[in-house]
Amino acid sequence: MFAYLLRRLWQMIPTLLGVVLLVFFLFRKFGVDPAQTLASLNATPREIAEIRAQLGLNEPWWVQLGIFIKGIVTFDWGRSWATNETIAHLLATRLPATLTVTLPILILDTLIAIPIALGLAYARGSLTDRAIMVGTTVALSISFLVYVIVGQYVFGFQLGWFPVQGWSDSTWTNLVVYAPLPVLLAVLVGLSPQTRLYRSFFLDELGHDYVRTARAKGLTEPAVLFHHVLRNALIPILTNVGLALPGILIGSFLIEVYFSIPGIGREVLLAVNRSDYPVIQAVTIYVAMLTMLANLLVDLSYRAVDPRVVLR
């Protein structure tokens, strides 16, 4: 077990190095010149050159890459070029807003989709099942943007149930006043694909031998479904939720941009527009690390859920 963990962690290093190189060269080679962005519109070439020097952009690329890697090792990313905020502070202040929206979305989506999918699997092939499956196909074919535009217009503007947009300093106010509308819309959008996915997981399980055995010994269909199938289908469901975990940190940037939520997704968008390399690099590395850790966590949880799984 310990050897397995050590090897998995060791294997992350080349991937992380690849991410470092990709982000470093992609933005430096092709991105907009950050000095140009930071300087005012009518800055003289000399002023731009001075900003370049100040940011250390005139150093040879290996020196800049060295600073980047040093930042990863020490977790000290320095300050944002645009706002002079330390990166640690910037992320710590933006993360709560993102989590206030993304955590409820993930939890609600999973908790609502599992019973619906189980019900559909129970009633598979019936008219209800087919009607709902067609319904989800139609729901899936409508753009996320349409849900957001229409939802904001109807619930926020016309009916006035929710504020159209906004954010406050109090987590509680955010959670009960400003987050519900974006959460509701995102859950609506996420429900169709999740239900379809979980239904297919359940149906996959229904084809296995243990289900036939359970039926053969006279168990009722609900007992088979809730007791045997649900437990076994938890493995792919867990995988799916686990792999969604890194995503909740960067958040749905579309929702954050649309509803003006000061979260990490919006910050990344701003950083890219301003060529704010320290922010871009820090967020990318964190998300890459979390993605890899989530993968590891999912593999470890297989073992916890299913003792037959052998970790290699």
Binding site: S143, I149, V257
Partner: protein
Amino acid sequence: MSGAPDFVSTAMTSTLTDPLPMRRADGVWRSAWRRFRRDRAGMVALAIVLAYALLIACTGSGLLARHWQDEVGVPDAPPSFLGAAAPDLPGAAVPASPAASVAANVDISDVDPLAPRYKEWNERAAQYHAQSKPIAATLPFGGDRLGRDVLSKALKGTQISVSVGLLAAIVATLIGASLGALGGFFGGWAGDIVEWLYNVVTSVPEILLFFAFAAVFGRGISTLVLIMGLTGWTGQYRQVRAEFIKHSRRDYVRAAEAIGASAGARMFRHILPNVSHVILVRMSLLVVNFIKAEVILSYLGLGVATDQVSWGTMLLESQSDLILGHWWQLAAATISMAVFVTAFSLMADAWRDALDPKLRGQR
């Protein structure tokens, strides 16, 4: 999870009896088509997709919606079935003040130094014909803020959005399938390198890749295609790699190796036809995903250029239209997109069922 399709047994028997590999592939596809034809929902979906293809061909060749950029109606012209808007616009209803118009008409020709040349100028001006086109008060499905016909825009937008999705899916499939074939067939250090690339690309947040590639290629259709192709190949890679790993150990491939088939021949002549349906089904899913991604990217300012129209730019414009109560642009974009994407998804589902009868009726 998409299941493991398995045509190997049929493929093998026909290898023994039939020396022509092309005929063998035909059989699989023809029987799939026979199964597909029995699927009524699939056939309806196929008919809708073909109708869209016809419309797109007409729009692309300029038969339809060629003049989508012309201002043919009043700004925000309502749809014809609603009737013309009441003239309650501020500004349009305010009559010019009489005092001002009198003051402007005082004859000052005896002090005006330019007065002797007015006649000559008027004659010259008369040589140019200014044509003012009649502007419609209503349009079949309404107009946008600039008075452009929403129906033409929707046609043109359909053409752009669908071709972007299709082309991006082709690019992603080419990248993903060739890398997957490479990694799955050879394994070893080549496989490790490809797998490393996959890990790196999937670890970077998508939006960062989008932005970085957008910075490289600039704005426009080809950018969109490249962005989505270069970031969206990973799913296809994963699946093709798994298929190639599975197939490269099968007896029919070993047999091909034993009679001296080269690695390339085994990959492309023997394995590829047996996994092509997996690639196609995955590609059709990509088309749908990319069409939806185009909308989001357009909203974030990474979409098609400003002088072009797509479902994404239409939705972007409709956001401000809606607040004024002008819902038709939103409706046109949403309906044309929803019908196409639904039909395409249903067609892809039917296709998968037909190509993979073992999974039939399961999802």
